[in-house]
């Protein structure tokens, strides 16, 4: 049988094209790994029964040169695939079947991708560890006592454990990049508006973006090029890339190292960022420290606006149109019961927090203020990108933490997003690329670094990511 470990999308595609391997062989190999590993790890909530059948169908089709022909994908449980359950990690949608395909799913399907199953996540993508999933947390393959990160922890581990060649995740405050860093894979949060969100179960709509998780930067680029672009079903999607990605990326770039408060960041994480900067310097890039004066307010800004949007978006779960219904004494009681029993603790907390910051008397002090601070942070990036082509920073202040370590302290859990949220606040693209390992309790844990680039300049992220990936190999 094929050893999935040895395959990137790129390599699998080339071999499938030459008919040296078939899509069904590739899918069988992934399914085999899933059946061996998933019971312990809980990366997949469901493996689709029709995956192998679909691979066989593909093997009889023409169009071997399609970019994802026969490539097995894992899909985060908040992205709709028609006819399949999409639960968003929540009891309230446990038995909900999607009635249409998300636009990204249509695009992957048309490119020849095969969907293996849906992956575990924090409920409604709120969380940094998958511990908020209603269906149990996902464990990290590097240390089973540690989290996979989140919210796209299942997607990141599905790729890391060779249970798929690629996965889709969603990133609202770091939910693709942080698990990618914790699991030793590549994760991209694209520019806001560059990938359609039609068919993504909405969490905080001014931040949410769908993006790829893969083993290599080149693979992330391949998937991104398939899923990007304006879509008539998402009026916030735009065609930003045709303009800003024309022309060559200069081979020598000006890169800013983000100046940040070293307190609360593990020393060996700092070192990995420094080492990465040194490699870039050796490769001839121009490196300087850069200060973004308002970036320290990112997390505060995020944890006001995000719950506010959550409280509005999740108002649709009322036990009437779809999902769980719990009977009460009257209509109001129906809502109160359904939502009390359908939503998990963190979801209830964020809806409550969002309701508070939007409530009369507090709106200006919290939500209104945060929206303006958001503009300050965006302006900081605008100014920084007049001087720099990219900015480098940690992805998270620590490697994967212990299961249960932060579950009783929501603020501590929120702090693990401190380096990732600013890209969502400003709408810029950012990538997590594996950059080394740190040791905790005799276990080696992977750590990524984050590159951020100007709006629609994903190309720069791919260029730098590949350089780091190839350095020394």
């Amino acid at each position: 049988m094929i050893d999935v470990k040895n395959f990137s999308i790129k390599k699998a595609q080339e071999m499938i094209k030459r008919r040296e391997i078939s899509a069904s062989e590739m899918v069988s190999a992934c399914l085999d790994n899933i059946s061996k590993k998933n019971k312990d790890i809980n990366a997949y909530l469901e493996v689709f029964e029709d995956a192998l059948e679909n691979a066989k169908k593909i093997d009889n089709e023409k169009g071997f040169d399609r970019p994802l022909f026969g490539i097995p994908f894992a899909i985060k449980d908040n992205i709709l695939i028609k006819g399949k359950i999409a639960s968003a990690g929540s009891k309230i949608l446990e038995n909900y079947h999607a009635t249409y395909d998300a636009s990204v799913i249509k695009k992957l399907r048309n490119s020849g991708a095969i969907f293996l199953g849906r992956t575990n996540m924090d409920e409604f993508a709120m969380g940094s560890s998958t511990e908020n999933s209603a269906f149990g947390s996902t464990k990290n393959i590097y240390d089973k006592e540690r989290v996979a990160g989140g919210s796209s922890g299942g997607s990141a581990i599905s790729v890391a454990m060779d249970g798929a060649l690629a996965a889709l995740g969603s990133d609202t405050g770091g939910s693709i990049r942080q698990p990618a860093s914790f699991c030793g894979v590549v994760g991209l949060k694209p520019t806001f508006g560059s990938v359609s969100r039609s068919g993504l179960i909405a969490m905080a709509s001014s931040f949410d973006q769908i993006g790829p998780i893969t083993k290599t930067v080149e693979d992330t680029e391949i998937v991104f090029n398939v899923i990007k672009g304006k879509d008539k079903f998402d009026s916030t999607s735009v065609n930003g890339h045709s303009v800003s990605n024309s022309g060559e990326t200069p081979s020598v770039l000006k890169i800013g190292i983000l100046k940040y408060d070293k307190n609360g960041v593990d020393k060996d994480i700092d070192k990995i960022v420094d080492d990465t900067a040194k490699i870039l310097l050796r490769l001839g890039h121009d490196i300087k420290e850069t200060e973004l004066p308002h970036i320290e307010y990112s997390l505060s800004c995020y944890y006001i606006i995000q719950p506010a949007e959550v409280s509005a978006n999740l108002a649709r779960f009322d036990g009437v149109k779809y999902g769980l219904f719990k009977k009460g004494e009257n209509l109001l009681d129906d809502y109160m019961e359904t939502r009390a029993q359908g939503f998990g603790k963190e979801t209830r907390r964020r809806i409550m927090l969002g309701t508070f910051v939007l409530s009369s008397g507090y709106y200006d002090a919290y939500y209104g203020k945060a929206q303006k601070v958001r503009a300050l942070i965006r302006n900081d990036f605008k100014k920084a990108f007049e001087k720099f082509d990219a900015i480098i920073s940690p992805v998270a202040p620590t490697p994967a933490f212990k299961i249960g370590e932060k579950t009783n302290d929501p603020l501590q859990m929120y702090l693990s997003d401190i380096f990732t949220v600013s890209a969502n606040i400003a709408g810029i693209p950012a990538i997590s690329v594996p950059a080394g390992f740190v040791e905790r309790e005799n276990k080696k844990l992977p750590v990524g670094v984050q590159f951020m680039a100007p709006w629609f300049k994903e190309k720069i992220l791919f260029y730098l990511g590949k350089q780091i990936e190839n350095y020394g190999s």
Binding site: Y96, H97, T99, Y100, T191, F192, G193, S206, T236, V238, G240, E296, Y297, L299, S300, C301, Y303, I304, I305, A315, G319, V320, K321, Y322, L324, F325, N330, L331, L332, Y335, M336, E337, R339, A340, F343, K345, R348, R349, I351, M352, L353, T355, F356, S359, Y366, G368, K369, A370, Q371, K372, V373, R374, A375, L376, R378, P410, L411, A426, G427, W455
Partner: protein, 96 residues
């Protein structure tokens, strides 16, 4: 700061038990204390139109034409509803 958790729970349409209400009171204090950092920022020069913006958006308009076939999606959608009668979603009476 004393937060009226009962009122918020009603606004949010979520029934909470007293233990959760108590822990939310405490957690809100921590979280709101942390986010109050925003008070340090100077936002007087920020234009209302710039607030909350990520990328430049345009209005997206289309002609109101070519509707889908009546009932085309009804069967699939109704299958997901907790309670239906014929081709309708059934809800409790809202008028006394």
């Amino acid at each position: 700061m004393e937060i009226d958790i009962d009122k918020l729970a009603l606004l949010a349409r979520i029934k909470l038990d007293s233990k959760e209400k108590k822990s939310l009171q405490k957690e809100f204090e921590d979280i709101l204390n942390y986010v109050s950092k925003l008070k340090e920022t100077d936002i007087k020069d920020i234009d209302e139109k710039e607030a909350g913006k990520t990328i430049e958006f345009e209005n997206v308009m289309r002609e109101d034409e070519n509707p889908h076939k009546a009932g085309e999606f009804s069967k699939d959608l109704l299958k997901e509803a907790p309670s239906i009668e014929k081709n309708f979603i059934k809800v409790k009476r809202i008028l006394e």
